[in-house]
């Protein structure tokens, strides 16, 4: 059972999504997701009603500042949040499966096979005392029930897939022996080890140097096309979002405030927050001029504002904005924004 798996992967990686069981067109369907954290003396409403959809083979970027709830949304999709202290409401469907209703066993199958995730700090994703190759092989053995030797062969394939030079030698390296870009590649290899159909990427290039970042972005773009994966990519950098995505969802204070194709968001943003983000970018042309910064700072999600969360920083805000959360307003086929002033 296992050998064909490996060869199928070698010969035609594009077949991978086809042999999947689900027939639903949508890969991800998130409805009214709310994530609240409870700890002694503190109640943080990190995510407050997020709706997201992702088609098969699509790349969606969630763009937002720290504290906007973008990483929490992503972790909720994997159910990685600490269960005791977290309340999750809403519906999360990935490849037709209800993620929130999964048992532990279903969940461990779901993680890896259907969905896997890469993180900002690749060094923390690996155990420092085991060789990289063994760690990837272990994952493959555990999920696919193959021998360690076959797992290692698979690891080698994966290393070649993510274009690690002298892959064979690198398999026997320990995590600390790899440079930043290399260990990020190794983590991508680990994430792809069970051929997931959905890849979640939580700021995977933020800690990297610019010249390495662009290599990783190009690699992810290539792999996504080659393997036909759906990808949700989280970042705070508009340039990165532009490079990688088909569609962008802008998050602010636990809600998606605007979504649209890359073109629509980068060229014609409509929500005042997105517009402000675009205008506050420092660049050479603005030299000597003042940047049009957004005043204030993002709200503390332990005490979220009553109406539109952006209203206190918004130049267009009126009483209406302070009172009630604006509904999504459709602006185009894929483009919508949640603002009273549109």
């Amino acid at each position: 059972m296992t050998a064909p798996c490996v060869t199928a992967h070698q010969s035609s990686p594009e077949q991978v999504p086809l042999d999947a069981s689900s027939t639903a067109e949508q890969m991800v369907d998130v409805q009214n997701l709310k994530v609240h954290f409870r700890s002694p003396g503190r109640f943080v409403q990190a995510v407050n009603g997020v709706d997201l959809t992702l088609a098969k083979g699509e790349v969606l970027t969630i763009l937002g500042e720290s504290g906007s709830g973008k990483s929490v949304t992503l972790r909720a999709l994997m159910r990685l949040l600490p269960e005791r202290r977290t309340q999750i409401h809403g519906h999360i469907k990935v490849a037709g499966q209800d993620v929130l209703a999964m048992s532990r066993r279903e969940l461990s199958r779901y993680r890896g096979f259907t969905t896997s995730m890469i993180f900002q700090e690749p060094m923390l994703a690996f155990d420092p005392v085991f060789r990289i190759g063994d760690q990837i092989a272990e994952t493959v053995c555990r999920h696919e029930g193959v021998s360690h030797r076959e797992g290692l062969a698979r690891a080698l394939e994966l290393f070649e897939l993510v274009r690690i030079p002298s892959a064979k030698r690198r398999l026997s390296n320990y995590p600390h022996e790899l440079s930043g870009g290399m260990s990020q590649r190794a983590m991508i290899a680990l994430a792809l080890s069970c051929r997931p159909r959905l890849l979640l990427a939580d700021e995977p290039t933020t800690a990297l140097d610019a010249t390495v970042q662009i290599q990783i972005l190009l690699l992810l773009r290539e792999l996504q096309r080659e393997l036909g994966m759906s990808v949700i990519f989280v970042t705070h950098d508009m340039g990165v979002a532009n490079e990688i995505s088909d569609r962008i969802a802008v998050m602010y204070a636990g809600r998606v405030v605007e979504t649209g194709s890359v073109d629509e968001i980068i060229r014609a943003p409509r929500h005042p927050y997105t517009v402000g983000l675009m205008q506050s970018r420092a660049s050479g042309e603005l030299k000597g001029e003042r940047l049009s910064a957004i005043p204030g700072s993002p709200p503390d999600m332990a005490f979220p504002p009553q109406g539109c969360a952006f209203a206190p920083r918004c130049s267009l805000a009126t009483d209406e904005c302070q009172q009630e959360v604006p509904p999504a307003k459709v602006l185009g086929q894929q483009h919508w924004a949640a603002c009273w002033k549109l």
Binding site: E65, S66, P165, S179, G180, G181, M182, D209, A210, T211, V212, Q213, I214, Q215, L217, L218, H236, D237, M238, G239, V240, N242, E243, V262, D263, I266, R267, G276, L277, S280, R281, A282, S283, G284, E285, L286, K287, G288, R290, L291, S292, A293, I294, P295, S297, P298
Partner: protein
């Protein structure tokens, strides 16, 4: 436009309160660094001689002119932060000379370390780690002036004035502690604290890198305002080329402990004369959905600064390298003769002219639009 700005500064100091400390006049650089070197020994042999060492900063020369902003860019490990720390003597340099307004620092007859640190202050990237969690904001800002002999009352008054100037209401913020502030607010406190000693040079080591984009713009605006108001000189270290271009009059590009290129920022961004600078620029993510980056300009990671290649340090990653590059290390040399003094465009590349000719193809436009 740059020239205007510099000349504006040149005429300004007469009005500046800090002018009395100006010794050499406008023509003398505020800070001159000569063959600064720092190697970290990681392994010694039986006799205590270094076997392998990190060449963090390996012979760096530059001047910071009065009233300008000098940007330093480069990847991690290129020595930009080590340079800043060496200037402040937070690390002891192995060799080299730091001259502050004509006075050698820490030399007999020169400027004492204490006096230098009063005139040069630094703001770090991690706004939280650089504040004492047990001191209120006001105490933190007033601490430096008190150490340097100001009375408590005056120091507190100065702290409140500075709080107001960095855009935080003194009544609301003076008694707060660092954990009660957001990242942007904390970085404002750090800037206020650095200014409390009335420095002439402010070293900003990735000072806006950890901030959210919407807050980053506020802090950049603040830095520009404060510079005007106090007639400051900035050394602005960052890995973000857009920000550096926005704020800097001149830019220095570092690679593996050496200066690769240095010049007026417009000249450097429009016509980079070192293949590394060019690569850095084309590695910036594009902001044009129709014109995404197709190929990565460099392969692999920056090499570690332990085993340096012979010849030019960038040679193994350079697409334009010729035989000479792997044999002889190029020195920083001027490109054209029109510009004089410290404002000239310099590059440490054997093929600088060829690289600049390539720049005629508009990479800067596609990247920086």
């Amino acid at each position: 436009m740059n020239a205007e700005r510099i000349s504006a500064h040149a005429s300004m100091p007469s009005k500046q309160p800090l002018d009395r400390r100006d010794r050499g006049g406008q023509a003398q650089p505020l800070l001159s660094v000569r063959s600064l070197r720092k190697h970290f020994v990681i392994k010694k042999d039986f006799f205590g001689r270094p076997v392998s060492q990190v060449h963090a900063v390996d012979g760096v020369d530059f001047d910071v002119l009065k009233g300008e902003t000098l940007g330093i860019v480069g990847e991690s490990g290129c020595g930009k932060s080590t340079t800043a720390r060496l200037l402040m003597q937070l690390l002891k340099p192995d060799a080299g000379e730091v001259i502050f307004d004509g006075d050698p620092v820490g030399k007999p007859g020169g400027l004492s370390l204490r006096e230098m640190r009063r005139q040069v202050q630094m703001v770090f990237q991690n706004s939280y780690a650089s504040l004492n969690p047990r001191m209120s904001v006001e105490e933190s800002i007033a601490f430096g002036p008190q150490v340097h002999g100001l009375g408590k009352k005056e120091a507190n008054a100065r702290a409140r004035k500075l709080l107001d100037q960095v855009g935080l209401l003194p009544n609301q913020f003076a008694s707060r502690y660092p954990h009660e502030l957001s990242g942007g607010q904390r970085q404002r406190i750090n800037i206020a604290r650095a200014l409390a000693l009335e420095p002439r040079l402010l070293i900003l080591d990735e000072a806006v890198s950890a901030l959210d984009k919407s807050v980053e713009a506020q802090v950049l605006n603040l830095l520009v305002d404060l510079k005007q108001e106090y007639g400051l000189t900035y050394l602005f270290i960052s890995h973000d080329l857009n920000v550096v271009r926005y704020i800097s009059d001149r830019v220095m590009v570092m690679y593996l402990g050496r200066v690769a290129e240095m010049g007026e920022s417009e000249s450097l961004y429009n016509a980079p004369a070192h293949p590394y600078t060019r690569a850095l620029m084309s590695a910036m993510p594009s902001m044009d959905p129709d014109n995404r980056t197709q190929t990565a300009p460099l392969v692999g990671d920056p090499p570690n600064p332990i085993d340096l290649p012979p010849g030019c340090r960038f040679c193994p990653r350079c697409s334009m390298a010729v035989d000479k590059c792997s044999v002889q290390e190029p020195e920083l040399a001027s490109l054209n003769d029109q510009q004089v003094g410290s404002r000239q465009h310099q590059s440490a590349c054997w093929r600088a002219a060829d690289v600049q000719a390539l720049a005629a193809t508009p990479i800067s436009e596609e990247v920086l639009s």
